[in-house]
Assembly symmetry: C3
Homo-oligomer: 674 residues x 3
């Protein structure tokens, strides 16, 4: 296996003419070593029902072998071939608005037995055909899998079975979701209505969670099939992706990886794979901050608590992603700094027709060298040189940001504000930590192991089980620092709002409670506008870090801090400016004994150990040159080979990267900077 | 019966645990005396087809009896139980976009025989079961009834029958609506097409009016069933609601009662009830003006020309309705000042799951005392004390604002401007009167009795029958004052534009006519921007109160006044600033001999007589304290017991209320203030 | 035949009462000579299946005869009668969202055999009935014909047949559109999927082009039927209309003729008619620029390279079109200046009910004289006097703007920016020429004959065949001037992006190439913001007229000019301010030897010859009076009879028109002004 995988998705079957040899030659020149193929090519691999043609796969594998490249094989199941739809029209997913129209990818009913039959056959054929090939280092199962808003009869039948098993009686069901409301109570499982029109937040969220479960099971099912064929040294992965933030064009021409994926629970689904993978697309040019790369990396790394692979990221992408000189390199090292063990561009060459013709690859439509390609060559050259020292970076962050799909759904039903989503709140807290250079894990609430951390941050953890409440109380009592935002600890996992004081179960821990909340209106906090939602906190032992400033709400607290047991609990009752939030996060980190670099964004410092050596990535997200003091006793920039002593000036050019490797004796240096 | 009803909608069946006793105890403590129950609980009352279970009703009735409370029983017909939909899927209403999906309330086909069969059975069972119970003081039939956009076959068949009866021949039909246009003419009733795609404004409006008629008939049908069971001392009511102004969130989290209800004609439907009821929700906090409470009250009071009941209004409601200290009291007295005989909050306790969990009740989700509940206790205390003197307020307003559903529909088809609705124009004129403290009735055009009034205001009375035109002409001729806005007197009741000069039939009365109108563009009136629509008035005898200021339209009048017979007729050809409109309304009121208090909004004065005594509500919609001079010879504030002499300073604190009862000798005092 | 046709669409069948005689009298008084009737009256002409009633037609023809008027007969096929829809519901077009709902016009399946059967019968009956009548001067086939988004089975079957014929094998099909992408490849024609969900830009555009072809064939089919009956002296025409720019109201209350018609290819369809006709609606009042009249005229005139008829244009229209004094006249002469041989208002009288009641005619709803009618009388009077000298204006423009439906579709799939459409780019370039008084032809790319021109302008000619590329290269090489915008010369006619350097095939001609493009962001050109899209041009021989101003893109060119062969090629790589573009268009026109009047908009000068005499329309689109110097040796204003010598002041009042006829000896005068 390579130290760092470097390559691209490769689609010779989309090419206007055969240039496989030329492509391999150009890839090699760019220092690439890995291709990903086949994940959306069912109609090429099985042009007719039961007739398989792997000749184009064979062609790539042979070319890869000749060029000394590795290959990741994707199962082709996320895009249906026309013959299958013609024969079995019912395998197209039935969504809320009716059966989807064939054309785009990702519109099948993933629990339909007929779809499963055909998918299984092509997976088996493909795995059998390729697993033995020496160039194949692993398999990607399906592609950016989600549940596709499945309201088909199979999914609904499975859901009723699931409810019946979980609640046994319809009375228990009615009680859990308050189905008496608007006469929705069911008295007999046969009366359970079509879920399409469901207007009950709890039941609706329960269905969404169930659909995520079906999607996760679908991945496990695929993994088990592939496992029957693959060699032991081959990995199984999947490209987990994120909520996509759209800008408003009809066609997928802009948008980016923004936050928690609403339609698949990563933690649940990741048990299917042996190595976590991800697709991360992000703003660049003047909008490049590194935050999306960091957020995505921190989330994906925690799925398996080890290194992951960036299966897709942008080369040229959309018109607003054409990278400035230096940015492609900065992108690449940003991924490594979060623990990626390599990256593959989407894609090698721009496509000449079809939906994604302007989601551009490393090569433009002219298929010749260009500025972006030339910068990739630089990356390849450096990775060839220092890749060994960068791979298998270990990170041990002491801060966890807790995320939760159920809370995400809950805030769709019950938005804190029409202009503020769950992921907005997650990113508000995550980005504040990021900009402060407080490195963190991003952990699903079901995977949280509090004792790993010194500080836990909960953005809008609206839905929370009693177990989680107890675990967090214990965490603080035993010395941890908890930082929670408004809309945390409100409802149970069925979205039934706890019928007691809020924050539920943690009043004592936070030393405060609230009974009412309000639109902030003209309310200020520290002279600045409170926004979106304001809980009217009543301190009961807690210190009021900031009160509301308002004629009528002035008696209530906006931000509180409470010493509880051996720990501390912070609570922000409203949406503050990020600069205000950062102040409290710094206080909390100090309480937690977290050491933080002196630098702030746009200088980002990310640290870890590789092969026993301490590495510090210094990533510079700015077009303005600046100097920083070397924060380590003695360190060497792996890229330039230049060494720095503590306090020595390090010049950061526009969009610059340094990777400082500390000398052995300086291992603890990072602890001293504050 | 209580002097003033005070209470809440109560849903023990939504509670996470049994606390009926605690609830009754807290209600009593708040001075409450009335509960409304059952209006959306069909699935609880009839859990299976034909099996009835009134145990929860019985529980409430017994608890109410024990606590000395009264109960209003709502028929549960506006939310279908799942078993019924499963058995009879066709009773779900077919709307323009297809059959609605089950889940939310208010989606049944109210003319479907099967729906009627089941609705009738449950109404009979419930009425029979409860009518004899001593605590039951009345029935609410259905809930916020509308036609739900019914395009089902039953409604359409009834419509064709209705047209056939009304027009006899299709030739008459074609002529009335100009169906020749775009080849829509029908030659034979069997050719009448599905109305869903109708693009004819007249026919489309006619169908909308027909659907309103079906909804009104549905209410009458319910009332007749209930009447078979109810005692003579029990009332029948219905909670008429208003056009809901939305702010844009997907879920019903914000919006408020704005104007004329488009989907039910209140005047037509109110014959079904013995007491008018209403649901009024309104902006509060910094946005509390009292205008919605006043508009709603003035409209609902006129339905029966007597006191009405506020069956629903907000306690805590949405986050933007959390009341400031004093506001809940101000809300309550504002309702009484318009003639309400009491109010019930929606609802007692906030609900812990389901669609409306954040439409919060008097109690929050923790079900404990809170600031808002404590303010309700104050109201209860005061009403216990002075309720007798406040109940059965009689009002005799001399100004009428005429509203009309057909004109509302017409301006949807033919908007004066895409940003100006019919209700915007109604509120523009109504709010101007309101802010001037010119009290008025809000009267449906079909219910208008001109001789009751000295001044009649017609906002955009676009569609008008010849009879109405004649009645208004006579009204002015005999000494009345008519104030009309642009887009009045244009078309007949089929929306056929009258083929003669505008304003149709009233040229002479207004002393002007117009043939053309225009987008105002840069046109000014009195130096201020004319907006939305400008009719190019040609004075022919009328006085031009304000001309247009524009290079080309300068020769035309914007506002005219005409002496006609013994009266006067004002006409505003364009949308003026409210301050400009108020100037002309004041002139008109002066002409009409209407006496108006010297105060203006935010001090609102509403007057009436109760038990022969003259009462004046002084309502202060502002957070800034101010002093006013007592306008009455001698009067006593019923709340504080403090007396004032004419000219004496009355201090109004933020969101304050005074209720001045005049001494007998001062009965005519109000007449003198100007 | 009349020198100039002047009249209106006339719908006595929509009238509230019979006033044919009065109408004829008023028309005559206005100098009108032509009526258009019948184009949407199927339900009147054939009230029942197979029963025809032409009595209302006969009535109009007799009245017209008595009044000495001419009549144009429209076939009534664009609006279905109710009986036909009742009998044959499947002839309603099936669109992407399902079968349309009956009511509005233009919703039939124009390839459905049953529709064709009924349409043919009524056309034959009507043509037979009217063709012999002396007043009938021509026929309009159908009305504003388009394809209506037809996704019905007939259209789709025809499409597959068409593809099969064109590509023979599915392999060729797959290759042309890169159907391998997302597994869309078809292996066997029977597998071709329903096109509704198509997500392939090339195939989707191909279907759109096919639908346009069906609509064009439908017109040819109608024309052939009418031709069997019409007299030789009768014309066949059609009212071609334009992309409609909407402002956002639900109902068609505002919008205007903006650009290239997306749903019918005018060049393709115009072979069906013997005389081109058009519908042009445009902003007026303060927004009257004349640009829409000019653009529409320049496009329609080129269809047959001769005079055309304005079959519809606005009289009073919407509220924002109520003309200022003088504007109706200016509208009328603007049409003539572009080569129209007359115009008909839509419509004679405003309609009193139905969808278009507020798309007002020359008479308002009161059907009496009004200001606009009185201005039409002036036009009539002048045309009676000087019509002979204005008719049959010949224009020989030396500049062509090339437009293309396929490129329009392409930019829907692949927008340069979500706020910039193809027609925005067309209008950006066209309007710049217009405002410079550079007269041009607007030519479909398939009709372009380069040798007719000295300068060719291509706005976003995204899709281009090799033949066109070669023709343009030859055009420049042989001395022509080519001016192209960004997004020109990118893809072939299947939207397959050419896999080589851009601009495809013209690198050498333009002396530059580009490989990358970008969102402009903060990029400037000449100190002003570049907008929407920026191609990073690399000059290779070309002169850089303007570079990008940006830290990273500064090395690239924004505007280039290249001498190539005997000609010149300009290229604008981004969207400049119109003032910047004009500077380069002027340079290009100078290179091309085009002589341009010294005046600029708001003074527009349009020239041509009529009966051997040189005519110059001077059109003044401003409310501010101004003086210009007479640019001709000696010329006479045909309207006023006043003569001017070179340099003599001509006073232009607000919205003024002069028509200067040059004296014989001055024929070449225009050539000297620059």
């Amino acid at each position: 296996m390579w130290d760092l995988l470097f390559g691209a998705a490769y689609y010779p079957e989309y090419m206007p003419y055969d240039r496989m040899k030329k492509d391999m030659e150009m890839m090699k020149r760019a220092g690439m070593n890995t291709l990903r193929i086949a994940e959306s090519t069912w109609s090429s691999l099985e042009p007719e029902d039961g007739r398989f043609d792997f000749s184009y796969i064979d062609g790539v594998l042979e070319a890869a072998k000749a060029g000394g490249m590795s290959v990741i094989i994707g199962t082709p199941t996320y895009a249906l071939p026309p013959w299958l739809v013609k024969k079995e029209p019912e395998i197209i997913v039935e969504q809320k608005g009716g059966r989807a129209l064939y054309g785009a990818r990702q519109l099948m009913d993933i629990v339909h037995p007929t779809y499963r039959f055909h998918a299984e056959r092509v997976i088996r054929q493909l795995a059998k055909h390729t697993a033995k090939h020496g160039t194949v280092i692993g398999f990607q199962i399906d592609n950016e899998t989600k549940h596709y808003g499945n309201y088909g009869k199979y999914a609904q039948e499975l859901f009723v079975n699931y409810l019946r098993e979980r609640f046994v009686t319809t009375e228990a069901l009615n009680q859990a979701f308050c189905l008496n409301f608007w006469s929705n109570a069911v008295h007999g499982w046969d009366d359970f209505p079509n879920i399409k029109g469901c207007c009950n937040a709890g039941l609706g969220s329960c269905y969404a969670a169930f659909l995520r479960k079906l999607a996760a099971e679908f991945l496990k099912w695929q993994a088990e099939i592939v496992a029957e064929y693959k060699r032991d040294d081959q990995f199984i992965t999947h490209n987990f992706d994120f909520e996509w933030k759209k800008f408003g064009a009809d066609i997928a021409q802009d948008g980016y990886s923004y936050g928690v994926q609403p339609d698949l629970n990563h933690a649940e689904a990741s048990t299917a794979v042996s190595m976590a993978g991800t697709d991360i697309y992000h703003p660049t040019q003047d909008e490049l901050t590194g935050a999306e790369i960091s957020f995505g990396g921190d989330e994906i790394r925690c799925l398996k608590q080890k290194n992951y692979l960036v299966l897709e990221t942008q080369a040229q992408g959309f018109k607003n992603w054409t990278p400035y000189p230096g940015q492609l390199k900065l992108h690449a090292y940003s991924h490594l700094a979060s623990g990626a063990n390599g990256l593959l561009y989407w894609n090698w060459h721009s496509i000449h027709n079809g939906y994604e013709a302007y989601w551009m690859g490393l090569l433009g439509h002219d298929l010749e060298e260009n500025e972006t390609y030339r910068e990739a060559c630089l990356i390849g050259e450096e990775w060839r040189r220092i890749g060994k020292r960068l791979s298998r970076l270990k990170k041990e962050n002491k801060v966890a940001v807790v995320v939760d799909n159920v809370s995400l759904d809950a805030l769709k039903w019950y938005p804190a504000d029409k202009d503020l989503s769950y992921n907005d709140i997650v990113r508000w807290m995550y980005d504040s930590l990021y900009e402060l250079n407080i490195e963190c894990d991003v952990v699903d609430v079901h995977s949280l192991v509090p004792e790993r951390y010194r500080m836990i941050v909960t953005p809008a953890l609206y839905s929370v089980s009693e177990e989680t409440v107890e675990a967090l109380e214990k965490f603080v009592r035993e010395g941890g620092v908890l930082v929670s935002s408004f809309r945390s600890f409100v409802a149970d996992r069925n979205l039934r709002i706890y019928p007691d004081r809020k924050p539920h179960g943690l009043n004592e821990c936070f030393g405060m409670m609230y009974r009412q909340f309000t639109e902030p209106g003209r309310t200020l906090v520290e002279g600045r506008q409170a926004r979106y939602f304001a809980e009217l906190l009543q301190a009961q032992g807690a210190e009021t870090l900031a009160p509301y400033e308002h004629r009528y709400w002035g008696g209530y607290s906006a931000v509180t801090k409470n010493s509880y047991g051996d720990g501390n609990a912070y609570y922000a009752g409203t949406y503050l400016e990020k600069e205000q939030l950062k102040k409290y996060l710094l206080m909390a980190a100090k309480d937690a004994g977290i050491k933080i670099p002196a630098q702030r964004w746009p200088v980002i410092i990310k640290s870890g150990t590789s092969d026993g050596k301490k590495l510090h990535y210094i990533l510079h997200y700015s077009e303005e040159d600046r100097e920083i003091d070397c924060p380590y006793e003695k360190a060497t920039d792996l890229i330039s080979g230049k060494s720095y002593r503590s306090g020595e000036k390090i010049l950061l050019k526009d969009w610059d990267v340094k990777i400082l490797e500390e000398n052995q004796e300086n291992r603890q240096a990072v602890e001293r900077v504050w």
